[in-house]
Amino acid sequence: MHHEKFPKIPKPATDKEEAALRLVIPANEEAVREGLSTIKSGLSDLEFSQDEWSTLELVVAEVLNNIVVHAYQERNDGMIETHMDHSNGSLLCKIIDTGNPMPGGELPNKPQSDLTCATEDLPEGGFGWFLIRQLTKDLNYGRMEDQNVLTFRLKFGEAS
Protein backbone atom coordinates (compact mmCIF):
# COMPACT_ATOMS: atom_id res chain seq x y z
CA MET A 1 0.00 0.00 0.00
CA HIS A 2 1.36 3.41 -0.89
CA HIS A 3 0.20 6.89 -0.19
CA GLU A 4 -1.23 8.81 -3.04
CA LYS A 5 0.60 11.97 -3.78
CA PHE A 6 -1.30 15.16 -3.47
CA PRO A 7 -2.46 16.23 -6.89
CA LYS A 8 -0.27 18.87 -8.40
CA ILE A 9 -1.82 22.30 -8.21
CA PRO A 10 -2.35 23.35 -11.79
CA LYS A 11 -0.71 26.52 -12.94
CA PRO A 12 -3.20 29.31 -13.40
CA ALA A 13 -4.34 29.79 -16.96
CA THR A 14 -2.52 32.69 -18.46
CA ASP A 15 -2.47 32.88 -22.21
CA LYS A 16 -4.24 29.53 -22.60
CA GLU A 17 -7.85 29.81 -23.57
CA GLU A 18 -10.49 28.04 -21.56
CA ALA A 19 -13.41 26.42 -23.30
CA ALA A 20 -16.17 23.95 -22.64
CA LEU A 21 -18.52 22.16 -24.98
CA ARG A 22 -21.40 19.73 -24.62
CA LEU A 23 -22.85 17.84 -27.55
CA VAL A 24 -25.59 15.21 -27.76
CA ILE A 25 -25.91 13.22 -30.99
CA PRO A 26 -27.86 10.17 -32.14
CA ALA A 27 -25.73 7.03 -32.32
CA ASN A 28 -25.11 6.54 -36.03
CA GLU A 29 -22.09 6.99 -38.27
CA GLU A 30 -23.41 10.02 -40.17
CA ALA A 31 -24.21 11.85 -36.93
CA VAL A 32 -20.72 11.02 -35.64
CA ARG A 33 -19.16 12.57 -38.74
CA GLU A 34 -21.27 15.69 -38.30
CA GLY A 35 -20.58 15.75 -34.54
CA LEU A 36 -16.82 15.74 -35.12
CA SER A 37 -17.16 18.76 -37.33
CA THR A 38 -19.32 20.50 -34.68
CA ILE A 39 -16.72 19.77 -31.99
CA LYS A 40 -13.92 21.19 -34.14
CA SER A 41 -15.81 24.38 -34.88
CA GLY A 42 -17.00 24.64 -31.26
CA LEU A 43 -13.41 24.56 -30.03
CA SER A 44 -11.94 26.55 -32.90
CA ASP A 45 -10.86 29.41 -30.62
CA LEU A 46 -8.31 27.11 -29.04
CA GLU A 47 -4.90 27.30 -30.56
CA PHE A 48 -4.21 23.67 -31.31
CA SER A 49 -1.64 22.58 -33.85
CA GLN A 50 -2.72 20.62 -36.94
CA ASP A 51 -1.40 17.49 -35.27
CA GLU A 52 -3.43 18.14 -32.12
CA TRP A 53 -6.62 18.71 -34.12
CA SER A 54 -6.09 15.45 -35.95
CA THR A 55 -5.44 13.59 -32.68
CA LEU A 56 -8.62 15.03 -31.19
CA GLU A 57 -10.69 14.11 -34.24
CA LEU A 58 -9.26 10.61 -34.47
CA VAL A 59 -9.67 9.73 -30.78
CA VAL A 60 -13.22 11.07 -30.56
CA ALA A 61 -14.15 9.34 -33.84
CA GLU A 62 -12.86 6.02 -32.54
CA VAL A 63 -14.73 6.33 -29.24
CA LEU A 64 -18.01 7.41 -30.85
CA ASN A 65 -17.90 4.80 -33.62
CA ASN A 66 -17.22 2.10 -31.03
CA ILE A 67 -20.34 3.16 -29.18
CA VAL A 68 -22.41 3.09 -32.39
CA VAL A 69 -21.18 -0.38 -33.37
CA HIS A 70 -20.70 -2.14 -30.03
CA ALA A 71 -22.60 -0.42 -27.21
CA TYR A 72 -25.79 0.13 -29.19
CA GLN A 73 -25.42 -2.70 -31.72
CA GLU A 74 -28.98 -3.48 -32.83
CA ARG A 75 -30.54 -0.39 -31.26
CA ASN A 76 -31.15 2.62 -33.46
CA ASP A 77 -32.53 5.00 -30.80
CA GLY A 78 -29.28 5.43 -28.89
CA MET A 79 -27.83 8.81 -27.96
CA ILE A 80 -24.26 9.81 -27.19
CA GLU A 81 -23.33 12.72 -24.97
CA THR A 82 -19.91 14.33 -25.28
CA HIS A 83 -18.40 16.83 -22.85
CA MET A 84 -15.16 18.65 -23.49
CA ASP A 85 -13.42 20.91 -21.07
CA HIS A 86 -10.23 22.73 -21.88
CA SER A 87 -8.13 24.39 -19.23
CA ASN A 88 -4.46 24.67 -18.39
CA GLY A 89 -3.36 23.15 -21.67
CA SER A 90 -5.29 19.95 -21.17
CA LEU A 91 -8.50 18.83 -22.84
CA LEU A 92 -10.71 16.65 -20.64
CA CYS A 93 -13.26 14.57 -22.55
CA LYS A 94 -16.19 12.69 -21.08
CA ILE A 95 -18.36 10.53 -23.32
CA ILE A 96 -21.57 8.94 -22.08
CA ASP A 97 -23.94 6.39 -23.63
CA THR A 98 -26.71 4.12 -22.38
CA GLY A 99 -25.84 1.09 -24.50
CA ASN A 100 -24.49 -2.29 -23.49
CA PRO A 101 -21.69 -2.26 -20.92
CA MET A 102 -18.13 -3.11 -21.96
CA PRO A 103 -17.66 -6.90 -21.98
CA GLY A 104 -16.21 -7.82 -18.59
CA GLY A 105 -16.74 -4.26 -17.42
CA GLU A 106 -13.33 -3.26 -18.77
CA LEU A 107 -11.87 -1.50 -21.76
CA PRO A 108 -10.39 -3.81 -24.38
CA ASN A 109 -6.61 -4.00 -24.09
CA LYS A 110 -5.44 -5.97 -27.06
CA PRO A 111 -1.73 -5.85 -27.79
CA GLN A 112 -0.58 -4.47 -31.12
CA SER A 113 -1.21 -6.96 -33.90
CA ASP A 114 1.68 -8.85 -35.41
CA LEU A 115 1.99 -7.63 -38.98
CA THR A 116 4.77 -9.96 -40.07
CA CYS A 117 2.14 -12.46 -41.21
CA ALA A 118 1.03 -13.31 -44.75
CA THR A 119 -0.97 -10.55 -46.47
CA GLU A 120 -4.19 -12.57 -46.32
CA ASP A 121 -3.88 -12.81 -42.53
CA LEU A 122 -3.46 -9.08 -41.88
CA PRO A 123 -5.99 -7.68 -39.41
CA GLU A 124 -8.71 -5.41 -40.81
CA GLY A 125 -9.94 -4.29 -37.41
CA GLY A 126 -9.02 -4.02 -33.77
CA PHE A 127 -7.07 -0.78 -34.26
CA GLY A 128 -9.58 1.50 -32.56
CA TRP A 129 -8.79 0.92 -28.89
CA PHE A 130 -5.12 0.63 -29.67
CA LEU A 131 -5.16 4.13 -31.18
CA ILE A 132 -7.25 5.51 -28.30
CA ARG A 133 -4.76 4.11 -25.75
CA GLN A 134 -1.79 5.49 -27.70
CA LEU A 135 -3.18 9.00 -27.94
CA THR A 136 -4.87 9.62 -24.57
CA LYS A 137 -3.93 9.98 -20.91
CA ASP A 138 -5.92 9.09 -17.80
CA LEU A 139 -8.26 6.85 -19.80
CA ASN A 140 -10.99 5.58 -17.51
CA TYR A 141 -14.19 3.62 -18.00
CA GLY A 142 -17.03 3.14 -15.55
CA ARG A 143 -20.59 1.82 -15.60
CA MET A 144 -22.91 4.12 -13.64
CA GLU A 145 -26.39 2.64 -13.40
CA ASP A 146 -27.37 2.26 -17.05
CA GLN A 147 -24.64 4.52 -18.41
CA ASN A 148 -21.20 3.90 -19.83
CA VAL A 149 -18.94 6.78 -18.86
CA LEU A 150 -15.58 7.12 -20.55
CA THR A 151 -13.15 9.87 -19.59
CA PHE A 152 -9.72 10.73 -20.93
CA ARG A 153 -7.38 13.65 -21.42
CA LEU A 154 -5.55 14.98 -24.42
CA LYS A 155 -2.55 16.99 -23.35
CA PHE A 156 -2.23 19.92 -25.63
CA GLY A 157 -0.52 23.24 -25.83
CA GLU A 158 2.56 22.15 -23.91
CA ALA A 159 6.12 22.10 -25.05
CA SER A 160 7.05 18.47 -25.45
Binding site: R33, L115, F130, L131
Partner: protein, 114 residues
Protein backbone atom coordinates in the same frame (compact mmCIF):
# COMPACT_ATOMS: atom_id res chain seq x y z
CA UNK B 1 -17.50 7.76 -52.37
CA UNK B 2 -15.82 8.92 -55.53
CA UNK B 3 -12.74 7.13 -56.85
CA UNK B 4 -11.20 8.28 -60.13
CA UNK B 5 -8.70 6.22 -62.03
CA UNK B 6 -6.19 6.74 -64.77
CA UNK B 7 -4.38 3.89 -66.49
CA UNK B 8 -0.74 3.72 -67.45
CA UNK B 9 0.85 0.80 -69.28
CA UNK B 10 1.46 -1.33 -66.22
CA UNK B 11 -0.09 0.79 -63.51
CA UNK B 12 -3.47 2.13 -62.49
CA UNK B 13 -3.59 5.31 -60.47
CA UNK B 14 -6.69 5.44 -58.27
CA UNK B 15 -7.44 8.83 -56.75
CA UNK B 16 -9.75 9.13 -53.76
CA UNK B 17 -11.86 12.23 -54.45
CA UNK B 18 -13.14 12.57 -50.88
CA UNK B 19 -11.56 14.21 -47.87
CA UNK B 20 -12.34 11.34 -45.50
CA UNK B 21 -12.26 7.56 -45.41
CA UNK B 22 -14.22 6.89 -42.24
CA UNK B 23 -16.93 4.65 -40.78
CA UNK B 24 -19.55 6.23 -43.07
CA UNK B 25 -17.86 5.25 -46.33
CA UNK B 26 -15.36 2.48 -45.46
CA UNK B 27 -17.45 -0.38 -46.86
CA UNK B 28 -18.21 1.49 -50.05
CA UNK B 29 -14.52 2.32 -50.46
CA UNK B 30 -13.62 -1.35 -50.01
CA UNK B 31 -16.15 -2.44 -52.66
CA UNK B 32 -15.08 0.20 -55.18
CA UNK B 33 -11.43 -0.64 -54.66
CA UNK B 34 -12.10 -4.32 -55.22
CA UNK B 35 -13.67 -3.56 -58.60
CA UNK B 36 -10.78 -1.32 -59.60
CA UNK B 37 -8.10 -3.85 -58.62
CA UNK B 38 -9.95 -6.86 -60.09
CA UNK B 39 -9.81 -5.39 -63.56
CA UNK B 40 -6.56 -3.49 -63.01
CA UNK B 41 -2.97 -4.05 -64.17
CA UNK B 42 -0.03 -5.31 -62.08
CA UNK B 43 0.46 -2.12 -60.11
CA UNK B 44 -2.38 -0.28 -58.45
CA UNK B 45 -1.42 3.01 -56.82
CA UNK B 46 -3.85 4.62 -54.41
CA UNK B 47 -3.49 8.40 -54.38
CA UNK B 48 -4.62 9.66 -50.95
CA UNK B 49 -3.59 13.30 -51.45
CA UNK B 50 -7.15 14.57 -50.94
CA UNK B 51 -7.81 12.50 -47.83
CA UNK B 52 -7.51 14.63 -44.70
CA UNK B 53 -8.94 12.10 -42.26
CA UNK B 54 -8.80 8.35 -41.96
CA UNK B 55 -10.05 6.43 -38.92
CA UNK B 56 -9.63 2.77 -37.97
CA UNK B 57 -12.53 1.75 -40.24
CA UNK B 58 -10.82 3.55 -43.10
CA UNK B 59 -7.53 1.86 -42.28
CA UNK B 60 -9.31 -1.51 -42.19
CA UNK B 61 -10.78 -0.81 -45.62
CA UNK B 62 -7.35 0.01 -47.10
CA UNK B 63 -5.97 -3.22 -45.60
CA UNK B 64 -8.97 -5.10 -47.02
CA UNK B 65 -8.14 -3.66 -50.45
CA UNK B 66 -4.60 -4.99 -50.09
CA UNK B 67 -5.90 -8.42 -49.16
CA UNK B 68 -8.34 -8.45 -52.09
CA UNK B 69 -5.68 -7.84 -54.74
CA UNK B 70 -4.52 -10.65 -56.97
CA UNK B 71 -1.29 -12.41 -56.01
CA UNK B 72 0.66 -10.90 -58.92
CA UNK B 73 -0.58 -7.38 -58.19
CA UNK B 74 0.82 -4.73 -55.86
CA UNK B 75 -1.22 -2.10 -54.06
CA UNK B 76 0.88 0.95 -53.29
CA UNK B 77 -0.06 4.17 -51.52
CA UNK B 78 0.86 7.72 -52.43
CA UNK B 79 0.67 11.22 -50.92
CA UNK B 80 -0.42 10.60 -47.35
CA UNK B 81 -1.41 13.73 -45.45
CA UNK B 82 0.00 14.02 -41.90
CA UNK B 83 -3.21 12.90 -40.14
CA UNK B 84 -3.44 9.84 -42.38
CA UNK B 85 0.25 9.05 -42.08
CA UNK B 86 -0.09 9.15 -38.31
CA UNK B 87 -2.67 6.35 -38.32
CA UNK B 88 -0.49 4.20 -40.58
CA UNK B 89 2.54 4.92 -38.42
CA UNK B 90 0.94 4.28 -35.02
CA UNK B 91 -0.50 0.95 -36.18
CA UNK B 92 2.76 0.12 -38.04
CA UNK B 93 0.74 -0.43 -41.21
CA UNK B 94 3.34 1.83 -42.82
CA UNK B 95 5.61 -1.23 -42.73
CA UNK B 96 3.14 -3.29 -44.76
CA UNK B 97 2.58 -0.90 -47.68
CA UNK B 98 4.91 0.67 -50.19
CA UNK B 99 4.28 4.39 -49.67
CA UNK B 100 5.27 7.03 -52.22
CA UNK B 101 5.64 10.75 -51.47
CA UNK B 102 3.40 11.71 -54.35
CA UNK B 103 1.33 10.18 -57.13
CA UNK B 104 3.75 11.68 -59.65
CA UNK B 105 6.79 9.94 -58.21
CA UNK B 106 4.77 6.73 -57.92
CA UNK B 107 3.92 6.58 -61.62
CA UNK B 108 7.22 8.00 -62.81
CA UNK B 109 8.48 5.82 -65.59
CA UNK B 110 5.09 4.24 -66.21
CA UNK B 111 3.92 4.95 -69.75
CA UNK B 112 0.63 6.77 -70.21
CA UNK B 113 -1.81 4.30 -71.77
CA UNK B 114 -4.89 6.48 -71.96
Amino acid sequence: MKLNHKDFEDARLVTVCENRIDAVCAIQFKDEMRKLTDEGPTRVILDLSQVEFLDSSGLGAVVAALKAKKLEQTLELAALQPAVEKVFHLTRMDTVFVIHDSATTAVEGAIDAS
